[in-house]
């Protein structure tokens, strides 16, 4: 977990990795990060640099992101959640941009999303058209891209598009699935105690996929 000033979901992710899927995980301050030391990298949610200039824009230009880019070219799985997803798009590691919700409001609610073309370490155990439940919590989650995504794995809002994202996109990965970004929070949907009535712990598939992938490959 890379922690920037303003990152606040880092310990939630560590908790799930350690206690739910039994992986060794730690929070690393962005200035102390050394890319070659880790089997996978997560950029957790929060408000890096207070969302100043634009959500993710300042963190995306920090030196640690050069290390993340190096790690991705060496085959290290990278996941950006919420503000982490915004950082990955601002850094150019994932296509598109995330802008203010079309309602203008901060949205905090559970949603249903559908997985398309699952591939790679983060979605190894998912199947095409699998519906999963996770909560969103963002003000800038409207995904913008010039044209429909044809090849890479995507995760789409299912039933209701809460924020005006083009093509209902809630998450997207690189073609090989190695780098993935999600606006919904899989770490808040990985234990039954945290799941409201009518929903299931949809984030589990992401963490179980990672645990399986790190042991068996993907």
């Amino acid at each position: 977990m890379i922690k920037f000033p303003g990152t606040n979901a880092d310990l939630d992710v560590v908790w799930v990795l350690r206690n739910v899927v039994s992986l060794d995980a730690s929070v690393v301050w962005f200035k102390e990060f050394k890319g070659k030391s880790y089997d996978a990298i997560v950029l957790p949610g929060g408000f890096s640099y207070g969302d100043w200039l634009r959500a993710g824009a300042i963190a995306a230009r920090s030196k640690v992101i050069d290390e993340v880019i190096d790690a991705s070219s060496n085959g290290v799985p990278i996941l950006g959640i919420c503000n982490g997803f915004q950082i990955l798009t601002e850094a150019g590691l994932l296509p598109g941009a995330l802008i203010t919700n079309d309602s203008g409001k901060f949205l905090c609610k559970w949603v249903k999303v559908r997985v398309k073309r699952p591939r790679g370490p983060w979605l190894k155990l998912a199947y095409d058209d699998m519906t999963v439940d996770m909560p969103i919590a963002h003000g800038e989650g409207r995904y913008y891209i010039d044209s429909e995504v044809e090849h890479s794995p995507v995760i789409k809002y299912y039933g209701h598009n809460p924020n005006g994202s083009l093509f209902d996109i809630a998450g997207i990965a690189s073609n090989d699935g190695l780098v993935m970004g999600l606006m919904p929070h899989p770490e808040r949907a990985a234990e039954p105690e945290l799941v409201p009535t009518g929903y299931t712990a949809g984030g589990l598939v992401v963490w179980r996929s990672l645990a399986t992938s790190l042991k068996e490959g993907w």
Partner: protein
């Protein structure tokens, strides 16, 4: 010292909820119906040491692009010398 202004707005085809809300719920609601529309944006003022006005503007243009002060996927940007439309 030169002052260079940077104005960042969403591209024309990218919706701007803040501008729409100001327009709909304030301007039109309070009767200023000659206003045809509003786009909101972000304004940055750079104080730049430079030999000339043109060089200062070019310097800021370059840094805006390289540091991604605006996001070219969704934004238009205007970089100009303060208080005037050109350095001339």
């Amino acid at each position: 010292m030169y002052v260079v202004e940077v104005i960042i707005t969403n591209k024309g085809h990218v919706r701007d909820p803040e501008g729409e809300t100001i327009y709909r719920d304030l301007i039109i609601k309070r009767g200023y119906t000659n206003v045809a529309g509003i786009r909101s944006g972000k304004y940055l003022k750079f104080h730049v040491q430079s030999d000339s006005c043109k060089a200062a503007v070019e310097y800021v243009k370059e840094l805006c692009y390289k540091l991604r002060i605006y996001n070219p996927i969704v934004h238009d940007v205007e970089v100009r010398a303060s208080g005037q439309s050109s350095c001339d």
